[in-house]
């Protein structure tokens, strides 16, 4: 029987299409508990590879024969070894090409909807890390919002769509992943915007992203408007695209809200967060579709793989938008917070331009889930 490679793109299809998959994760228990491949219909078995060096007989009975079995490890080597042993024992099996490292890097552009004058809005879903980036396209021009560090994904996509990237935005100074925004702007000659209140320590040139700033994209003047919405960081800014979509950054997610502590100022920013969620956002049209910069759990994905929901629905369903008592709200977002994202302080330094880690170091920093939210 054969042992075959499965790519991160193929795994992503299985997530989006709700297909079943059995994952034999051979990383050590701590790594598995911390972070794994999530799918609606995925089943799991975690047995570290170092318990399988002498043979796989003991786990064969636990591997199903009615669905694909995928062996996963950190980088590929161990999963390949285990997959070969399973195939020698007479079973068909896949191993994940490039391991979790590759899963963490994989990004899939999915169309969210059409915009006025033939424009389009795409969401770039980074399944492994839960990051969401956006590209607004209109008549030969494009704007990119909250780009992850894989700049080629955006630049090549723009080429395919025959559009020129003119504007690049970060809704805030990210702490959970390395931004690709500045580098995309450098490569394409686009303008790079960052909220000045988040940028007091940055060591590069940028254009201030101020409340009320309005950018027109393409001939049809598709509007991308900035709305100051602090709370996750003091500079956090949302965007309203074409009066239809509300890009919330790390302030409001589908099933959770932003955490105010990643820059070390939770107590100071709680009131800003409350103002944004309970006053500013409530003044907006409930018909806007909320598009956040992250998802935390697989249940936040829609059937087409996108992460998007009507603001009016979130105002009813999202627990973080329904805490009437201010003191309770304060406790929710400052006490018992989930662990902070891996290397978040280093990542902030990178996004401020203070340090320039190499490729391997960047991968290392971004290992693990994003943890930007409070449920």
């Amino acid at each position: 029987m054969a042992s075959m490679k499965m790519t991160a793109a193929q795994v992503a299809r299985k997530v989006i299409e709700n297909q079943p998959l059995f994952i034999l994760d051979v990383r050590n228990g701590d790594a598995y508990e911390d972070w794994k491949i999530e799918g609606h219909r995925f089943d799991y078995l975690n047995v570290p590879y170092f318990h399988l060096i002498d043979g796989v007989e003991e786990i064969l009975h636990a591997l199903p024969t009615d669905k694909d079995v995928l062996v996963v490890c950190a980088k590929e080597g161990s999963s390949q070894m285990v997959a070969e042993m399973i195939s020698e024992a007479g079973r068909d099996v896949y191993y994940l090409e490039g391991g979790m490292k590759s899963w963490s890097s994989y990004v899939e552009p999915i169309k969210v909807g059409n915009l006025t004058g033939g424009g389009e809005l795409y969401q770039f879903v980074r399944f492994g890390k839960g990051c969401l980036s956006y590209m607004v396209i209109s008549e030969g021009e494009a704007a990119v919002i909250d780009a992850v560090r894989f700049t080629d994904e955006f630049i090549n996509f723009a080429k395919e769509k025959n559009v020129e990237i003119k504007h690049v935005f970060d809704t805030h100074l990210h702490a959970d992943h390395i931004s690709g925004g500045r580098h995309i702007a450098e490569e394409t000659g686009a303008i790079y915007y960052l909220p000045p209140k988040d940028a007091t320590e940055v060591e590069f040139e940028y254009t201030p992203l101020e409340d009320g700033l309005s950018i027109k994209i393409g001939v049809s003047k598709l509007e991308v408007g900035a709305l100051y919405s602090p709370g996750h960081t003091i500079g956090s800014t949302s965007f309203i695209v074409d009066s239809k979509y509300l890009l919330t950054g790390d302030i409001l997610f589908i099933d959770s809200i932003g955490r105010p502590d990643l820059a070390g100022l939770a107590e100071d920013w709680v009131d800003d967060l409350r103002q944004t969620l309970y006053i500013r956002y409530r003044e907006l049209s409930e018909e806007l579709t909320v598009l956040p910069a992250h998802f935390m759990i697989i249940d936040e994905l829609n059937e087409d793989g996108t992460v998007a929901k009507r603001l009016g629905d979130l105002l009813i369903e999202n627990h973080g938008l329904n805490i009437e008592d201010e003191a309770e709200f304060r406790r929710t977002v400052t006490d018992n917070l989930p662990p902070q994202p891996n290397a978040y302080q280093q990542i902030r330094q990178v996004n401020m331009g203070k340090v320039s880690p190499n490729h391997e170091e960047q991968i290392e920093m971004e290992i693990g889930p994003n943890r930007c939210a409070v449920r």
């Binding site: 050590n28 228990g29 570290p48 590879y49 170092f50 060096i53 950190a74 980088k75």
Partner: protein
């Protein structure tokens, strides 16, 4: 500082899973209680070696990094079943510092590598295997509080010392595995 090991394994340049596969094979050539040094460059080997060692009963002592090379230290079957302790003069971990402040010494009979990765400040290091030939370094009129990781080696050391005429000898229990006081390191 130089850390002693009985067997050395070079797994530099190998990616996962090879450092663990090689370590597992190398372990077969050690006897219980001996120390293996594994040199590796794969960063993932730190978490994996520790998890593997603990799951199969070897004692993961620690890892140091020098110029991009990781030096892992593992003691074979460090968790082997604890036999009945025979030496009758014992004290508990939490009595130790007070007893020593009134005189006497702490004698740490673990391997030098274990000592290097964390020991009680001021403790004297003589690994169990070297005790017999280094008795001259100890004096009989002083209290000697013998400690190891789990009380097993210190039990043997205390018996040995008593046979040789050191009467003010005490085995410290449960030992360094449960020590929550301050530690000094030599790495």
């Amino acid at each position: 500082m130089f850390i002693k090991a009985d067997v050395h394994l070079d797994a530099k340049g190998y990616a996962c899973p090879m450092p663990i596969v090689k370590t597992k094979t190398a372990m077969n050539d050690l006897t219980d209680g001996q120390i293996l040094e594994v040199q590796a460059t794969d960063k993932g080997s730190i978490a994996d070696l520790k998890a593997w060692a603990e799951s199969v009963g070897h004692q993961y002592i620690g890892t140091i990094e020098d110029h991009g090379v990781l030096f892992h230290f593992i003691r074979k079957n460090g968790d082997a079943e604890v036999t009945e302790k025979k030496f009758e003069q014992t004290i508990q971990n939490d009595e130790l510092l007070e007893r020593v402040s009134n005189g006497g010494i702490v004698l740490d009979v673990r391997e030098q590598a274990e000592y290097a990765f964390g020991h009680i400040e001021g403790a004297k290091s003589i690994p169990l295997g070297e005790l017999e030939e280094r008795l001259v370094e100890l004096t009989k009129d002083q209290e000697i509080y013998v400690i190891c990781r789990t009380g097993k080696r210190s039990d043997l050391a205390a018996q040995k010392l008593f046979e040789k005429g050191f009467t003010k000898v005490y085995n410290v229990l449960p030992g360094m595995s449960s020590w929550n006081g301050p530690l000094e390191k030599n790495i």
